[in-house]
Amino acid sequence: MQQDIVAQGLELMLYGMGTVVVFLALLVIATTAMSSFVGRYFPEPQTPAVMGNKPASTGAAPNDELVAAITAAVHQHRGRKQ
């Protein structure tokens, strides 16, 4: 039984690590393909890849009456649809 569990552990390691590598390899391929596809057929004014969560920040701190009013209107507008 002790040997048995080691065997299980080895199997889990080989099979598990294998799956992780294969899965992420496929993801690399899929992502590359997707990017080139999107880049070719749906080009777009590019935005730099920066960390930072615009929606969150604007969501967190509307910085003047105008935005406040808009926010309220939008909420109302969207809320209604719900």
Partner: protein, 412 residues
């Protein structure tokens, strides 16, 4: 245990160890260990501990066993009894005026159901920017490599068991290994499915070591790299279009759906959160997912995890084993990430600074910061942060995949 709870609070508040989780966990641990309050127990356990003879007699009748002074025997009989009996016994305790402890209720709703870690993962997804990863998809391999820490640790756990030092089942071993994923919700999700008894220790180890990343990783990184390697400057990342960012979570989701259904809950919610963030048309939902909702869930998740820090489970040689193996997991994961990065640099076309390999363990964004910091030591003009964010978020995906594999292999 009270001491341990206070120690966790001290580490969280004074030393800044992942306070968002360790404050609720530590406090929950204290509450769970208040003798006589039964906050971490079910109505039935509380009723049995109440030990009212009349109730015990009635319970024995329901369980169809001989009357027993000792409540423990009855709980054993309960565990052994069949479905209908379970329901009857539970209802009996409720009718007798006993109720589930607060922490027990939190645990059932938040963790036993598996929902809280998934909701938090959704929120994390809504806070994740895949831009750097999309700009350089090859870094996904670093996220894969670093997961070796998980599986090496499993081997360590079964090894210790086979030589009789510890006593872990294969499911325990898998749950311990996931500490190496350096990803809180993933670790809690896996532990709740594979080894609920070890959940407390595993969560504490995972979050503590994530906080210790700035101490654990640098020596390993320096040991495995030459100064020249650490000085490598990487090419500026290409800009990534909004549309790529919107499509990516769907690509990932479809891949998961086709290949790894057991990872679907974790990665599905992660992709959902990320899609809400990137699609730009549901900002009010995205904001809520990364603020009110994730905070509320974190409070109850933390208290629930704390409810598992009960003496008889936690004060145990196995806990030491878990803590020991956990740090091994981090170390091995870091090393594998760095080594693969070295190879990719050696044999690849574009230069890769091996230091970003260590970020593959995830521990977002701390590990990426560490890569940046160690890089700056070697070359004050070399900013690796953005380059390290790729493997960093890749590590999150990698450990979620590993979680799915283990659940499908040894789970339920």
């Amino acid at each position: 245990m009270l001491i341990i709870g206070l120690m966790l609070l001290f580490l969280a508040i004074r030393k800044g160890f992942e306070p968002l989780l360790l404050v609720p966990i530590g406090f929950g641990g204290i509450l769970a260990n208040i003798p006589g309050s039964g906050m971490a127990y079910s109505a039935l356990e509380n009723a049995v501990q109440g030990a009212d003879p009349a109730f015990l007699l009635e319970l024995a009748r329901v369980l169809g066993v001989a009357a027993a002074e000792n409540g423990k025997e009855l709980l054993v009989a309960y565990a052994a009894s069949d479905a209908v009996t379970h329901v009857a016994a539970q209802q009996l305790a409720l009718d007798a005026g006993f109720s589930n402890g607060m922490l027990y209720s939190f645990y059932s709703v938040a963790i036993a159901s598996g929902i809280a870690p998934l909701v938090i993962f959704m929120g994390v997804g809504a806070m994740t920017d895949f831009g750097p990863l999309l700009a350089n998809p090859k870094t996904l391999f670093l996220g894969a490599a670093a997961q070796f820490g998980i599986f090496a640790t499993i081997l360590g756990a079964v090894g210790l068991t086979s030589v009789g030092v510890m006593d872990f089942s294969i499911t325990d071993a898998a749950a311990i290994g996931i500490i190496g994923g350096a990803d809180g919700p993933t670790a809690i999700y896996v532990a709740s499915m594979l080894a609920p008894d070890l959940l407390g220790a595993i969560a504490v180890a995972a979050y503590s070591y994530m906080a210790l990343v700035p101490m654990i990783q640098p020596p390993i990184m320096r040991a495995l790299t030459t100064l020249e390697e650490r000085q490598i400057e990487m090419v500026q990342l290409r800009p990534v279009s909004k549309r790529e960012k919107i499509v990516f979570p769907l690509v990932l989701l479809i891949l998961v759906a086709m290949l790894l259904p057991d990872a679907a809950p974790l990665l599905g919610m992660f992709c959902f959160g990320n899609l809400m963030k990137e699609c730009g048309v549901v900002d009010r939902l995205s904001d809520t997912a990364q603020n009110a909702l994730i905070n509320i869930t974190t409070i109850f998740l933390g208290l629930s995890v704390g409810s598992k820090l009960v003496a008889d489970k936690f004060l145990d040689v196995n806990t030491l084993g878990i803590l020991g193996l956990g740090i091994v997991a981090f170390g091995v994961g870091t090393a594998s990430g760095v080594i693969i990065a070295k190879l990719m640099n050696r044999f690849g076309s574009t230069p890769i600074n091996p230091l970003i390999g260590s970020a593959g363990v995830s521990a977002v964004p701390m590990a990426a910061r560490v890569s940046n910091k160690v890089g700056l030591e070697a070359n004050p003009h070399n900013f690796l942060l953005m380059h390290a964010m790729g493997p960093n978020v890749a590590g999150v995906i990698g450990s979620a995949v590993a979680a799915g594999v283990m659940i499908s292999l040894v789970g339920g």
